[in-house]
């Protein structure tokens, strides 16, 4: 259930619809400071159902919507979608690809979709858990966070083992 494609539409510094295709193996993302590398990762966390906007470096969810640059006006909504490979049938859905997406507009209205069908956040979390994907899992290490695993308190660290066992 690897990520085959990420589509960022008006998400943070992505002021139009941008598609990123990914291979199954090892991809390095490079670019100048402020170019949008970490924003792609925020986009992945957004679709996976992360609730905390702060963990995506935004004061509120609406701050994730492109708010203008170089004369381009702010957008009304943002939508990010991930296409997962499902040839391993990790997801209990009978299709070789599974698309999960999330949209939010300036009024704060938020909607999730699974293969174009509306879904609730609970359904998303439930679906992802079949493929061992957790929006706050240790498979995503944000910028600057790597040493936090060693610096966190012992009880929180034990809870990580609770979750995977």
């Amino acid at each position: 259930a690897y990520i085959k494609e990420i589509t960022l539409h008006n998400f943070k510094s992505f002021g139009k619809r941008v598609v990123v295709s990914l291979p199954k193996g090892f991809t390095a993302v490079v670019g100048a400071n402020g170019s949008g590398k970490s924003n792609i990762i925020d986009g992945i966390c957004f679709v996976l159902g992360r609730r905390s906007s702060k963990s995506m470096r935004a004061d509120r969810l609406v701050d994730l919507i492109f708010n203008g640059s170089n004369g381009r006006p702010p957008a009304d909504f943002t939508e990010v979608s991930l296409i997962f490979d499902n040839t391993d049938s990790a997801f209990p859905i009978d299709s070789s690809n599974v698309t999960v997406s999330r949209k939010v507009n300036r009024a704060g209205y938020c909607a999730y979709r699974i293969n174009d069908r509306m879904a609730t956040r609970t359904e998303i979390i439930e679906l992802l858990s079949h493929a061992a994907i957790n929006p706050d899992g240790y498979n995503i290490i944000m910028q600057g966070d790597i040493v936090k695993i060693v610096e966190m308190n012992a009880a929180d660290r034990r809870k990580i083992i609770d979750e995977v066992s």
Binding site: A1, Y2, V18, F26, T27, A28, A90, I141, S165
Partner: protein
């Protein structure tokens, strides 16, 4: 529940030790439960002993040593319960040249069984990738400006 936890703990600890000594040869590290009788009453400590040194409190470890220890933990978890993809954003920022290379080799090895998306400025990491994605700020904001197959 206890038996399931202990089985996970033992397996993760084994992998953690193996990967730590792969990253930090001659060093030793292990995971220690505060309360073996009732693990849910206590936490999980990490005890690391870099090469040639006494066991130290985690607090006194250097930035690079903490990074290697944390990576051994993350990859130890990955061995026990693999996720389909891993995303690492400049996790090599504190590593020196040698450790940066060891980390790149580790990612290369694990990327045979899981997808890795790694943001990095380090040559050793970038040159080991199967594919490079270039991001840049254009008129309409961020955009993907180039996609190269690795090794070219």
């Amino acid at each position: 529940k206890l038996a399931v936890f202990m089985e996970a703990f033992e397996a993760i600890n084994r992998s953690f030790k193996e990967i730590f000594s792969q990253l930090s040869p001659e060093g030793e590290a292990e995971l220690i439960l505060e309360n073996y009788g009732d693990p849910f009453e206590g936490g999980l400590e990490i005890r690391a002993k870099p090469a040639g040194k006494e066991v130290r409190s985690i607090e006194s470890m250097s930035g690079g040593e903490k990074t290697l220890t944390a990576l051994a933990f993350v990859f130890g978890l990955a061995r026990y319960k693999p996720a389909p993809f891993y995303v690492l954003d400049e996790a090599d920022m504190f590593l020196d040249g040698d450790n940066g290379e060891k980390f790149a080799n580790l990612v290369k090895e694990f990327s045979k069984s899981a997808q890795f998306i790694v943001v990095s400025f380090r040559e050793s990491m970038v040159s080991s990738a199967d594919q490079l994605i270039g991001v840049a700020m254009q008129d309409a904001g961020s955009d993907i400006v180039s996609v190269k197959l690795g090794g070219q």
